[in-house]
């Protein structure tokens, strides 16, 4: 039954994609593969909407890109994830890309040979979020101040496209993070009007926040992706989309929150543009938690 539900959910993601977006991401929006399209995207697994623009001219070795994003409270499509609260966050990032590092630019004309292209990039990002923290062992208070968090990220990534059917990605860097996903999502209730004696009713206001020992730390993320396109004749019944399989790892080498997760993603791509994913299903396991997430993309740019 669970398998049937999974298949149905996977197929349903195709319906969300009125347009397409390039994204090969684990359920939490992290990726080591940086594609080069102007896109507007929605990642349902991460409740993240983003707008991106990338500027590239084929004969120039450098290109650049910018992205703005906003996230909602929690992932809306994690099927079997542990509860991992997130605060709404807005931010942006920029990338500077150098093309053809190890691969050679192809000969133009007949005899070009198999396709090979690689690119090395620096990705810098900033994000800001605000939320209420209710520390452990502290009495609830109506005057709890909002806590703001500023996220900074610098990632160096290398991507390699070869043979027309595979893209490999490796990314490593540093990111200022917090441990919000490890805290408990809670609500503080404040009684506005107490009920009459003997009554169980009262009027309260609630304020959502996070309970636990809040920490900010510097993470050292390492991501890897290996995306393989299946032959065009392999299709989901009823759909003519291309299918890609992404094997990925997501690790953090920083001592504060050291850990690693691996997983597999299966994506449906627009047949005429196999870099544009219209939806996907990712499954990951970090040694403790098993998470399955849906990802759907929307794009106004072709």
């Amino acid at each position: 039954m669970r398998l049937l539900f999974l298949i149905a959910a996977f197929v349903a993601t195709g319906l969300f994609g009125s347009a397409q977006e390039s994204l090969y991401q684990s359920g939490n929006g992290e990726t080591a593969i940086y594609l080069r399209q102007s896109t507007t995207a929605v990642n349902l697994g991460d409740s993240k909407a983003s707008v991106a623009y990338i500027d590239r001219t084929n004969i120039h070795p450098y290109s650049w890109g910018v992205e703005a994003y906003a996230t909602a409270n929690t992932g809306v499509a994690s099927l079997f994830a542990s509860t991992q609260p997130k605060a709404p966050e807005g931010g942006g990032s920029g990338t500077l890309v150098r093309h053809y590092i190890l691969a050679k630019r192809p000969v133009v004309g007949a005899g070009a040979g198999p396709a090979k292209e690689d690119w090395l990039l620096v990705d810098g990002g900033y994000g800001r979020s605000s939320f209420y923290i209710y520390p452990t062992n502290a009495a609830p208070s109506t005057s709890t101040a909002k806590t703001s968090f500023e996220r900074f990220r610098t990632i160096l990534a290398y991507n390699y496209f070869a043979g027309g059917d595979r893209i490999l990605g490796f990314a490593a860097g540093a990111e200022r993070r917090n441990n919000l996903s490890n805290l408990k999502s809670t609500s503080q209730q404040t009684v506005v009007v107490a009920g009459a004696p003997g009554s169980t009713s009262s009027i309260v206001t609630t304020q959502a926040g996070y309970y636990g020992n809040y920490k900010v730390y510097i993470a050292a993320p390492i991501y890897t992706d290996a995306l393989f396109y299946l032959p065009g004749k392999v299709m989901v019944p009823g759909f003519d989309n291309r299918i890609g399989v992404d094997l990925f790892t997501r690790s953090d080498l920083a001592a504060v929150n050291r850990g690693s997760a691996g997983g597999i993603g299966i994506f449906l791509f627009k047949k005429s543009d196999p870099l544009s994913s219209i939806g996907g299903l990712t499954a990951s396991y970090d040694g403790t938690n098993f998470q399955v997430s849906l990802t759907a993309g929307i794009c106004f740019s072709k």
Binding site: N58, I59, P106, A115, S272
Partner: protein
């Protein structure tokens, strides 16, 4: 020798290249579309060399045109297909170009 501005448009999932008379045309990317132009002095033929890369089995198109004032662009060369195994397709062609590609073609 007339000078003509050739418009080049390639649609493919990955980077693509085209040379006219041996000169590379700078193509700017917008999604799957790569477009650019090159002004050249031509006599009566145009040498075209192109290499298009992409995901195997995905479609590609190539069009070389000349903008005509107040009318449709005049087609100089076009080709299309699906990206073969290996992820790239390339070819060289020589096509005839009239001194004024926008001039109405005479009826036979």
């Amino acid at each position: 020798m007339p000078t003509i501005t050739f418009q080049c448009a390639i649609s493919s999932t990955m980077v693509s290249y085209i040379n006219l008379q041996g000169k590379p045309v700078p193509l700017h990317q917008s999604g799957t579309n790569w477009t650019g132009s090159l002004k050249l002095s031509v006599t009566d033929t145009l040498d075209i060399a192109y290499t298009i890369t992409g995901i195997t089995e995905s479609p590609w198109t190539l069009a070389v045109t000349v903008d005509c004032p107040g009318g449709k662009p005049a087609s100089i060369f076009s080709a299309n297909g699906n990206i073969p195994s290996g992820g790239s397709v390339g070819d060289t062609k020589t096509v005839k170009v009239s001194a004024n590609p926008c001039a109405p073609k005479s009826e036979p």
